[in-house]
């Protein structure tokens, strides 16, 4: 799937540029894309170190375990394949909470940390496990209580009431989250049935 999408983006872009007689933009955009990716990862190093450092303290202090126990019924329902007291639980909870609080840059390191913890439980290291798919689905649905960035750009654009869309974003992201959870479950069942055959 991801191979096909990647190829499609590439082929469609290059062929279209060729047809339009603007093949030169392909080289430029390929190079600037690659440079942008490296610049982004370099920028991520700082945030990554900061949050993974804080996470380590939280882990050793037992804060992660505390949170994990606090809302474990819900998380256990969402991630049945993860053992109750596994560190992955705490990491998942931190990721989802950071997502909900709209903590922007802090979410990525936490999410990666959670993925690494889930990778320890994964039997096939190059294939995403069930729990990884669920976590990814929840993150891409992006359930956010306070969409801070949007409130900021609305207020910059001169809105009378920048936060009035919060009700709408809450409703919509709740809908999207429920949909992905259901879709994730259905896909998981189909996948396992197919594997067994």
């Amino acid at each position: 799937m991801i191979n096909l999408i990647w190829l499609l983006l590439l082929v469609a872009g290059i062929v279209y540029a060729g047809v339009q007689g603007r093949i030169d933009v392909v080289t430029q955009s390929a190079i600037s894309g690659a440079e942008g990716a490296v610049a982004l990862s370099l920028k991520l190093i700082g945030v990554m170190c900061l949050w993974l450092g804080i996470m380590k303290i939280a882990e050793l202090a037992g804060i992660l375990r505390f949170f994990a126990r606090l809302i474990s019924p819900l998380i256990c329902f969402l991630f049945p394949s993860v053992p109750k007291n596994h560190p992955a639980m705490g990491a998942i909870i931190m990721t989802l909470s950071a997502n909900m609080l709209g903590m922007g840059n802090a979410v990525t390191p936490l999410g990666i940390k959670a993925m690494q913890a889930l990778q320890q439980l994964n039997a096939k290291k190059d294939t995403a496990s069930d729990a990884m798919c669920t976590l990814l689905a929840l993150c891409t649905a992006g359930f956010t209580l306070i969409p801070a960035t949007i409130i900021a750009i609305r207020s910059a654009a001169g809105s009378v009431n920048p936060a009035e869309i919060v009700g709408a974003t809450l409703t919509v992201s709740f809908m999207a989250t429920v949909t992905v959870i259901v879709a994730d479950r259905i896909c998981r069942i189909i996948y396992h049935v197919r594997i067994r055959r």
């Binding site: 882990e59 993925m115 690494q116 294939t127 990884m132 750009i153 809908m175 879709a183």
Partner: protein, 178 residues
């Protein structure tokens, strides 16, 4: 009032975590400084590990966008979406949203400036941005960091979430703000 509360909460969230975690850690006999350094060491390698995945994805997305192929997709999808009651102005934003975070933020800012943040288009654009996430970026970075190359069905599930977010934003905004 509510705006102020949200702004305050988002300003305080990160400082609060930065304060509470080390303080709690200290009182629970963690060597906070050493633990921080220990955790931060991983940060460097993780950022480096996701680099090739990001390069692959951003090169493809960039070529697709700059060549104008994205615009063609937007144009060809417009008539069908207009039939469904989707305002044509927000279609580019919906297509950009799963591909590029900065790109969609730019498009949304532009929509807010041209149509006004309190117009229907402005509200829909804000809601789309606030209730969806950059699916391909998250997929690339999260799976890249642990070396997953077979994401199974998660691409479809993520894109389905984006679609619900997009159509839901339009529907809810039209119901809420008449």
């Amino acid at each position: 009032m509510f705006t102020e509360f949200c702004e305050q909460l988002s300003i305080w969230a990160i400082p609060a975590v930065l304060l509470i975690v080390p303080v709690v850690g200290y009182f629970r006999h963690v060597n906070v400084y050493e633990a921080f350094v220990d955790g931060a060491t991983e940060g460097f390698y993780t950022a480096i590990r996701i680099m090739p995945f990001l390069v692959a994805m951003m090169v493809a997305v960039n070529i697709f966008r700059v060549s104008g192929a994205l615009d063609v997709c937007v144009e060809s999808a417009k008539p069908m979406l207009t039939l469904l009651g989707v305002p044509p102005d927000v279609v580019p934003l919906a297509m950009m949203r799963p591909l590029s975070g900065t790109g969609s933020l730019g498009l949304a800012t532009e929509l807010l400036n041209t149509h006004g943040p309190d117009s229907m288009i402005g509200r829909i654009a804000s809601t789309i941005l606030g209730s969806t996430d950059t699916t391909f970026y998250i997929l690339t970075v999260y799976f890249g960091a642990v070396g997953i190359s077979k994401p199974r069905y998660s691409v479809c599930v993520g894109l389905l979430g984006d679609m619900i977010g997009f159509l839901g934003s339009i529907y809810i905004c039209q119901q809420l703000f008449k």
